[in-house]
Each structure stands twice: as structure tokens, then as C-alpha cells.
């Protein structure tokens, strides 16, 4: 299996616009983790991220008829996710940050996987945009330029923040005595 399974054929969106339920399912399977992870990176809260994930797919379904084929189906969906996150933040509907990621390694949680430690580090140590950039890069395989388009920031910003974020993560994980 390819490491980056999130890119998909934009014809699926066109089929979805015709009410094709199978196309909808395929799109969901390709993109659900990217959508959820991206929402999580902005909202830092599992519950809100799930809400946005839910609304993103409903909105993608209802808006599919307006999709203009430009070879960027994933960017289209992630832009919906981003806008919904910002709507939620603007509307003040984001839950208080509950520091849920603090609890992963606190105490004797023995079922915490090594992978979760990296996620926790990303949530705790990275700045707002750094977190979005690293998570999008990790989950989607989008190029820095494409990530820059989605986040509406210059490509140079994405590159430098990405490098800084990886350094921060490495030092945080090593600081816990974890192997990378």
C-alpha cells in the first residue's frame, strides 16, 4: 500500500455530484484521516475535529456539483475543512482546550503507543501553523507548494516552518528518551 493514499481521482467528485453513493464512500476512505488530522491540527480538540470532519463530508457532497475540475480534488476537500474550522473558531463554538493530549503519557498509561507519543508531541510543542504543515505533509503527501495554497501562506513560509517543526519534534521526542 502506498504511504500516501489520500490523493484520488477527481472524477469521483463528479460522480458524487450525480448522487453516486459509492463515489462518496471512496472519497471518504481516501481522505477521512487527512480531513480529521487537519481539523485536529487547527482545533486541537478531538470532539471538534470530529464535528468538522462530519460537516466537511456533508458539505463536499452537497457542494460537489460546483466542483471545477482542476486536478486538485484533495485540496478542494481540505479547503472545506479549513473553512469549517475557522467558522467554528469565529463562532466561538470551539470547546475549551482540555489538554487531552497531556494525558497520553501522564501516569502509567501503558497502552500508549510510540506513534501516539509523536502525535502528542506535535500537539504540545508545535505552533499553530507548524502543526498544520507537518500533519498535512505527513498524511497527504501534498507538496509544500500545495500546502501553501491550502493554508494561504507563501511557499517559503511552509518550507521554513516545516523544517523548524521537524527539529522541534525530534528534540521533544528525544528528550523523552524515545527512539526515533
Amino acid at each position: 500500500m502506498s504511504e500516501h493514499v489520500t490523493q484520488f481521482d477527481e472524477n469521483l467528485i463528479i460522480r458524487m455530484a450525480d448522487g453516486d453513493g459509492n463515489a462518496f464512500q471512496e472519497i471518504y476512505q481516501h481522505t477521512s484521516s487527512a480531513v480529521y488530522g487537519f481539523a485536529l491540527s487547527i482545533l486541537k480538540n478531538k470532539h471538534d475535529a470530529e464535528d468538522v470532519m462530519h460537516d466537511t463530508f456533508l458539505k463536499a457532497y452537497s457542494g460537489a456539483i460546483t466542483y471545477k475540475p482542476m486536478g486538485k480534488p484533495l485540496a478542494w476537500i481540505l479547503t472545506i475543512t479549513r473553512n469549517l474550522c475557522y467558522n467554528k473558531i469565529r463562532a466561538g463554538k470551539v470547546c475549551e482546550e482540555v489538554s487531552e493530549y497531556d494525558s497520553f503519557t501522564a501516569g502509567d498509561n501503558s497502552d500508549i503507543t510510540a506513534d501516539m507519543i509523536v502525535l502528542e508531541a506535535a500537539m504540545k510543542t508545535l505552533a499553530f501553523e507548524e502543526r498544520q504543515i507537518v500533519i498535512l505533509h505527513a498524511l497527504t503527501g501534498l507538496k509544500h507548494r500545495e500546502i501553501a495554497d491550502i493554508l494561504e501562506v507563501p511557499t517559503g513560509t511552509v518550507l521554513s516552518k516545516y523544517n523548524r517543526a521537524i527539529k522541534k519534534l525530534r528534540s521533544d521526542i528525544e528528550g523523552r528518551g524515545e527512539m526515533i
Binding site: G21, F24, V118, I166, R170, I180
Partner: protein
Amino acid sequence: MNDKSNIEKRLASAIRETTPDILDELMKELDTDIVQEPALSEAIKREVPEVVEMKPIRKRSWHKAMASCAAALVLVIGGAIYIGTGNSTFAVVGLDVNPSVEISINKKEKVVSVDAVNEDGEQILNDMDLEGTDLDVACNALVGAMLTKGYLTDTSNGLLVSVMSDNEDKGKEIESRLSGNLNTYLEDSEVATAIIGQFVRDDADIEAFAHENNVSLGKAWLISTLVNTGDPKMTEDSLLKLSVKDLILLTQKKELSDVDSYGEADTSEYIGNEKALAAALEYAGLTESQVSNVHVSYECDDGAIVYDVEFNSGGQEYEFDVNAITGEIVVEEIDEQDSYDDDRDDDDDRDDDNDHDDDDDDDDHDDDD
């Protein structure tokens, strides 16, 4: 493998592991759309295609439109699966930018037919088959087309959403929800759109007005609402010449209560309050320090947006209308300042202003009625 890609790999794996599975939930919510709708619209097309083809609605009253749509559908699908649950036209939803379209929906808020009210509306409907879709989906598609075809732009950013139904409670509910949804939908677009949502009651006069002037019922209703604010400059003839965006601008500035309002109508083509005031001051030969009680607002004069600029100076009340695009002074009035500060509720019958002009015909007669 280097540590960078290893970090990313572990991060991706952690997120994939914790991504909630909501596919079933989503499929349930979309169930009818996915499975049943295409079947319905296919059935309509196959059996009697001419029944659902586009027809201009404005030659009929919307009541008649409702009745005939209902009859047509019974003919088409009488006895078919979907219909027992109420398939007559329950409400008509109007979308006005400049293209005007009207969407007839049944009680389940599925589209029964879509009609163009003007030529631009026909451009929007071109090749679009929305019969049987959800109202929200159809509206998103139509508004999406208005965006992509360049009708809804930064400077022409007004969308009027009108809902007409015999069931006022439900009609208002649909209007309010739809306006909110369209606002959310448009927030994702590049055009910051101003939306006014209104419920439109059955009114023969307004219907006749819409018909005579070849405008949608929604636009006619909004014009009548503005006329009813009692502002003497808001006349039907003048307002008819305005774009939907400018009608929305006036509606928003008047803060009408009976509508849902989102965003702000664009004013970037207009000179702005400060320049309008400066133009009026220059015309009057005064400086800002010489005037008091300055008030600037948007108005309509003879089919154009103007700034209504008012101020007092040297015992005189000045009022100017300044063309909002050119800055030209189009109307000026200078009156003696009323020493009673416009206390119109005094209980004698005498005309207590000492106007030198001929304004006596605008007495208020509504005091005791």
C-alpha cells in the same frame, strides 16, 4: 529511513489509528439523496420530460404555479413510489442576484421545478437538472453557478433569498435556515457576499407590481418593504432602478427587522461618508469646524444611491444628496433651524415653524388615528 520520514510516518499512523469512523453515520444522513433521488429524477425524465422543462414563472401567480406544478406531478408520477408523502408545491424559493430564479419545492423540500425569472436566470439554469434534489443542494448549485459565471462578484455581492409559502411558520423556518446555509456556503468562496433572507406573504398588489415591472416577486417584496419604511425618497420607481446589491445595501443600512441579514453589501465603488461630507461642505462653503449635528446615511434618489448628508450651521439646517459614485450634489435643502429642536408633538395646532418656503403640504395627519 531518515528520522524525518520516520517522524512523519509515526505521526500519520497515530492519526489514522485515532480517526473516528463516521461513514455509516454519514451514509444514513445522505441515504435518501444517494439512493432514491437519482431514481426519482430519472423516472421523471423518462416518462414525461416536457412536464418538468423550464417555464418562465412570472406570467402566472405563484399560487397558480403551485397548483399547476402539483397537478403535473400527479400526472407524472401518480402511483409511483415516492409520491404518497406529499408532492405538491409547498413553497417557492426565489434567489436574486441579477439572475433571478425561482425554485418550487414539495413538503420534503425536494425540488419540483426551477424557473428563470429573467434572461440571466436562464443562463444560470442552462443545462442544470435539479429536479428531485434537496433544496439546499439546488440552492448551492445555483449560487455556485452565479459565482462561476461572474454574476456574484466583489462589487455585485448581494444575494436575496425569498421564501413564499402558505405555511408562514414553515416558510420562515426554511428561509432562515437556507439563508444561514447559503451564508456558510459562500463564506468558502472568494466573494464576501451580503445576504438578505425574507419571507414573502401572498399579496395580489405586489404580485401585480412584480408582473408589470418584470421583476421577481422577491425583489418586488423587498422594494415594498423599503417603501413602507416611510422614507419619502424611497419610492417604487426609484428603487426599481437599483440593483439587488444596492437594495440589500439600503435594507442593511435601514436595519430592517423582519429580514435575516448576513455580510455587508459592497460599497467600494462609492466615495464614502467622509468624501460625501467634504463635497457637501465645499458646496455650502463651510468647514467641518463650522458645522454640528452631522449625519450621513445611504439613501436612494431617482434610481441612484446617494449619501444623505445633514448638518447644522449658523442657525440653518442643511441637507444634501450627494451622488455616491460621482460626488455630485444632486439635491440641496437649507431650512431655518427649528428653535424647538423639531419637537413635533406639541399640543397646539399652530404651525410653529417659520419656514419661508412651501412645505406646508407635508403635515402629519396621523397623530390621532
